[in-house]
Symmetry: C2
Subunit: 217 residues, 2 copies
DNA sequence: ATATAAAGTTAGGCAAATCTAAATAAATAC
DNA sequence: GTATTTATTTAGATTTGCCTAACTTTATAT
C-alpha cells in the first residue's frame, strides 16, 4: 500500500511522463507537486526501493509497470470522483479538482467499483479526460490542440489540458465548454492569438489558451 | 485546520465523553484509537495548546466548545458518507464504517452540504445514529437499551452502539435489523441471556448483544 | 496507613516527509 | 575545451506522530 504522498508523486510522474517520452526530471516533479528538488530526490529513492520507478541518479525517473498501474489507478479514482461531483452533486467543472485530489486517496476497491457502476461506467470525466477501467485500459481518442488548427478549419472542443479553476472559469464565461463547435477564422501573426467563430459570434483567444484546448476535427 | 490524526482523536474523545460525563481517560482514548497511552498524552498536550481540549495532567481531558463542534462536524461527515454508501452505492450496513472512517477527513464544507442535500437532509445514518446538521444540532431520541427491558415489554430496534462488521452481520443474519419490532419473552437468570419474539419466531440473544441494541418503546 | 496495583507521564528514539545550504554533476556558452 | 549556468544530490535539521522503558501519581486493598 502506498501512502497519500507516494500516490501524489506517482500520479505527478505519470502525467509528466505523457509529455516527455517516459523519463521525467527531478525539477519538473518538484514544480508539479509544489515541493523542493531535494524532497523529490529523497522520494525517488524510496519509490525505486519499492519498485515503482526506475531511477538513475542525475538521469531522471520513469515509472515501472507496477508504478504505472498504480498511477493509472489513482487517475481513475480522481476522474470518477470528479464526474460524481459534477453529475450527482451539482458542482461546476472548475470546482472539482481540489476535492478529487483528496478523494482519490480513499482506499477501497469496492468503493470505486460501486462508484463506477453508479455513474454508469463513464468513459470521460468533466474535463474530457478518459477514465481508465478497472484494468487500467482507456482509449485516448485522436485529438488536436486548437493551436494547431489553420484558418478555415473547424472542430469540437473535447478536452482541456489545464485544470485550474481560473482557466476553466474563463472558458465557461467565454462559452468554450466541452462539446462546443468552433471554426478558426484568422490567426494574428504578431502574437499568435486566434479569431474564432463560436455559435455565430466572433471571439478572440490567446495562443496560450488555444494550446490548452483539445479538439476533435 | 486539524490534521487527519487530530480529527480522529477529537472524534474518539467525543464518543467516549458521551459515556462518561464529559471527562475522558488517557487509557480509554488509547484503546479506542489503537495507540499507546504515551502517544495520547503527547496529543492531549497538542490539542490543549490548540484550545480543542481542556487537559489536566493525571485527571483526564474534556472537549472545549471549539473541540466539541469540530468533533461533531466529523461525526456529521462520517454519518452522511455512511448513508451515501448504503443508500446510493448499495453497500450493506456492516461494510461502510471503515470507508467512512477515511471519507470523513475529506476537507470541503461545500462537498458535505451538497452531499447532505443530495441525500435529502437525512436525520439518521444506517445504524440509527443521528446526523448532526450544519450547526452541529441533532436530537437524540429517547432510547432504551434492550438489556433494560423486562419480560412482557416490547419495542422497535432503532440503533446500535457497536459498529463492528461482525456484530452487524450477526444482527443481519438473525433478523435484528433497524425498524424490527420485538418483545422480550424471558430472561435467563443464569447468564442474563434474553428470549425474544421476533416476527412470530422465538430467538435467544446474549446479554452482550442486548446491551448494544437501542430500542424505542 | 502503608503496600501494591493501575493509570498516566516523561525521556529518549525512530520513521516519514519536508526544508535549507552546500556540494557535485551535466549542460551550455563562448 | 574551459567557464559558467542549471540541474541534481547530499548533509544536516525540523515536524508530526508513534513507540518502549522508566518514573510518578492516583487508586485500591488489607
Ligand atoms: Mn492527491
Ligand atoms: Mn479532470
Ligand atoms: Mn477517521
Ligand atoms: Mn454509523
Amino acid at each position: 500500500m502506498e501512502s497519500f504522498t507516494e500516490e501524489n508523486y506517482l500520479k505527478a510522474i505519470y502525467h509528466l511522463s505523457l509529455l516527455s517520452n517516459g523519463t521525467v526530471q527531478t525539477n519538473a516533479i518538484a514544480e508539479k507537486i509544489k515541493t523542493k528538488p531535494a524532497s523529490v530526490t529523497d522520494m525517488m529513492k524510496k519509490l525505486a526501493d519499492k519498485n515503482l520507478v526506475d531511477y538513475i541518479k542525475y538521469q531522471g525517473v520513469s515509472l515501472t509497470e507496477k508504478g504505472k498501474l498504480t498511477a493509472i489507478g489513482i487517475v481513475r479514482k480522481h476522474r470518477l470522483w470528479e464526474l460524481f461531483l459534477v453529475q450527482s452533486l451539482g458542482f461546476k467543472w472548475d470546482e472539482v479538482h481540489e476535492i478529487a485530489e483528496e478523494l482519490e486517496h480513499v482506499n477501497s476497491d469496492l468503493l470505486i467499483r460501486r462508484l463506477d457502476e453508479f455513474l454508469g461506467y463513464p468513459k470521460r470525466d468533466p474535463h474530457g479526460d478518459p477514465i481508465p477501467d478497472q484494468q487500467g485500459n482507456f482509449e485516448e481518442s485522436a485529438v488536436t490542440k486548437l493551436s494547431k488548427l489553420q484558418p478555415g478549419e473547424q472542430g469540437t472542443i473535447i478536452g482541456v489540458t489545464e485544470h485550474s479553476a481560473e482557466f476553466l472559469k474563463y472558458l465557461e464565461k467565454t462559452g468554450l465548454t466541452l462539446g462546443t463547435q468552433i471554426s478558426v477564422e484568422d490567426i494574428n501573426p504578431f502574437d499568435g492569438s486566434i479569431e474564432l467563430l463560436l455559435e455565430q459570434k466572433k471571439i478572440s483567444i490567446s495562443k496560450e489558451v488555444a494550446k490548452n484546448l483539445l479538439m476533435k476535427l
